[in-house]
Structure formats: structure tokens, C-alpha cells
Amino acid sequence: MKAKFLIPLLLFMVLVGFLAVGLNRDPQEIPSPLVGKQAPAFELPQLADPKKNFSPESMKGQPWILNVWASWCVACREEHPVLVELGKLQVAPIIGLDYKDKREDAMTMLALQGNPYLLSAFDANGRVGIDYGVYGVPETYVIDKAGVIRFKHIGPITMAVLNQKILPLLGELK
């Protein structure tokens, strides 16, 4: 075996390969067990009008987007313009889930930055957030006609995520 001296090099290459993949992953991004499952049911008062309730049941028959946000969340402000853009495209209704927020603060934020949501459900104590496995706001779910979660994005949506993942998926679900 003439090439024996190459063995350490090969082992090193394997190690580099593993590290290249492992270190480029975001440890904050945990694959959700909810993708492919029915979106958990809930009934919450709406943000703008506490007397009216919202339930995901009412969205059946069309693909829609559930976006978990809060006025205290800095990353949500970052993603807000992208959501406003998405709202303008009118491809699918966006429902907000205002997570552990104060009503006035949330309303002020929407008034200042625009309101891309068809409506927002008001999750005062974060209980619905737990059912959706929310651990870092913002989080975004794409839900199909049958009410099955097809995609989940953790962290702010960027234009790239919107164009490469969300819009093609919505086109498919139409």
C-alpha cells in the first residue's frame, strides 16, 4: 500500500465534512414535529375586537398563513415589512397570533408599521403558543386547505424565505 500516508488526510477530510455540515446548522432551529399534522385547534378573542373570536376551523378550505408575533419582539419588527409585502400579493390570508402581548402595544405597532393580517388572535398567556410549539417569536406556519401544517419557519421571514419556500408552497397548495 503506497498510499498509506493518505489515510490521516482522508480521515481529516471526513472530519472537516462533518464539521462543515454541523457548524453551519442553526442550533436554534429545531425541526417541528407538527409539520404534516393537523394544526391544533383553539379559540381566542381577536386582537382588534375582543368580543369576536377566532378559530382555525374557520379557515378550512383554503391555504393560509399563521404568523406568531408580538410588539415586544424585535425580530418581528424586522420581518414586518416582508409580511406587508406578502399581504399585498394577496396569495393567502395571513392570520396573526399575537403572543403574550399587551393589546394597546400591539395595536400601536400595527398602526405604525401597517397591518398585513386579515386578523390577529390574541394569545394573552401564551397557551396556544405552547400547543403550536412556539419557543421563539416570530414563527410562521403554512397551513393547507385541510388544516394540516405544511411548513414552519422559525425566526423572521426574509425575502429569500418568502420567494424560495413560502410562495412556491402556496402555489402548490392552491
Partner: protein, 166 residues
């Protein structure tokens, strides 16, 4: 007198010190009975906090950990078993919340991998040692070798005695 000047200051400080405890943050509400709390600790120490991943759910002070402990307390009070509570968490956050992931096809590599590598190492070592032993020259001495050794030893002895005389 300087004492006069300082006394209002001291009075103010003492008053502040006395008032201070009223500003302390309320303790996080615990379950009424210590049994629930004990079970909560046992369960949540085996779970990862999703927000600060190096902390257990029992030890984390993040908001989400607080909420999740609250949920677990409710589940305990509802009479759920530990397994039911664990699957409540796994259904929402995946196996990642468990510090001890379950053994199933997708985690086989995780559980068995280290032993496979260990076994590979042991086999490699055995093969290497066997090969090395085979490559070594035989150490049996011929009669000719023995004669030469004797001659050399004799030489050495005589030279060493000569050296002593010097």
C-alpha cells in the same frame, strides 16, 4: 455638629432599607403541595429549555420555561402520568426537549454509533498488533550465534578487568 447633618441621611437610608423588601419581585407561584413540586422538578430536569438550550426546563428562568412549568403543574394536577406529560412536550417540541432521546430508528446511530466506533477501534488494534508480531524476525539463536556471544562476553570481561588495574 456633623452628627446633626448626617442623622437625616441615616434616617433616610434606614427608611429605604426598611421599605426595600416591598419592592422585591413576587416569587413565582409554586404549586400548593410539595408533592406536585417534587414531581415537576423530576420531570423538568430531564427536559431541555428551548430558549436557552444548555439549561434544563427545571433550572431555566426564561419566560417560556416558566409557562411550560405552569403547564406541567396543571397536567400533574389533572393526574397525568410522567409518560403522558413527556409525550405532551414531545408532541409540541419534538424529541429535542428530552435530554434522553428515545431509542428508535432515527436515533439508532446516536445510541449505537459510539459503540460501533469503539468496536472498530478494538478490531483495528488487534489487526495491527497481529501484523506487527508476524513482521518481527525470529529470535531463535543458532549454535554459531551462541559461540559468538560467548566470545564477545569473554572479551568484554577481560577488558573490564584490565580497566580496573589502570
Amino acid at each position: 455638629m456633623p452628627k446633626r447633618i448626617f442623622s437625616p441621611l441615616i434616617l433616610a437610608l434606614v427608611t429605604m432599607a426598611l421599605l426595600n423588601p416591598t419592592f422585591a419581585k413576587d416569587a413565582v407561584p409554586l404549586a400548593d403541595d410539595p408533592v406536585t413540586e417534587q414531581r415537576l422538578i423530576v420531570i423538568s430536569e430531564e427536559m431541555r429549555c428551548l430558549v436557552c438550550q444548555n439549561e434544563s426546563l427545571a433550572g431555566s428562568r426564561s419566560d417560556l420555561a416558566n409557562d411550560l412549568r405552569r403547564e406541567i403543574r396543571i397536567l400533574i394536577k389533572e393526574g397525568k402520568t410522567d409518560d403522558q406529560i413527556r409525550s405532551f412536550m414531545v408532541e409540541r417540541y419534538g424529541d429535542f426537549v428530552l435530554y434522553r432521546p428515545p431509542v428508535k430508528p432515527i436515533t439508532w446511530l446516536l445510541w449505537i454509533g459510539p459503540f460501533v466506533i469503539l468496536l472498530g477501534g478494538i478490531i483495528g488494534l488487534i489487526v495491527y498488533l497481529r501484523r506487527r508480531n508476524q513482521g518481527m524476525p525470529s529470535t531463535t539463536l543458532s549454535a554459531e550465534d551462541n559461540r559468538r556471544i560467548d566470545a564477545l562476553l569473554k572479551d568484554a570481561k577481560s577488558s573490564s578487568t584490565e580497566n580496573l588495574h589502570d
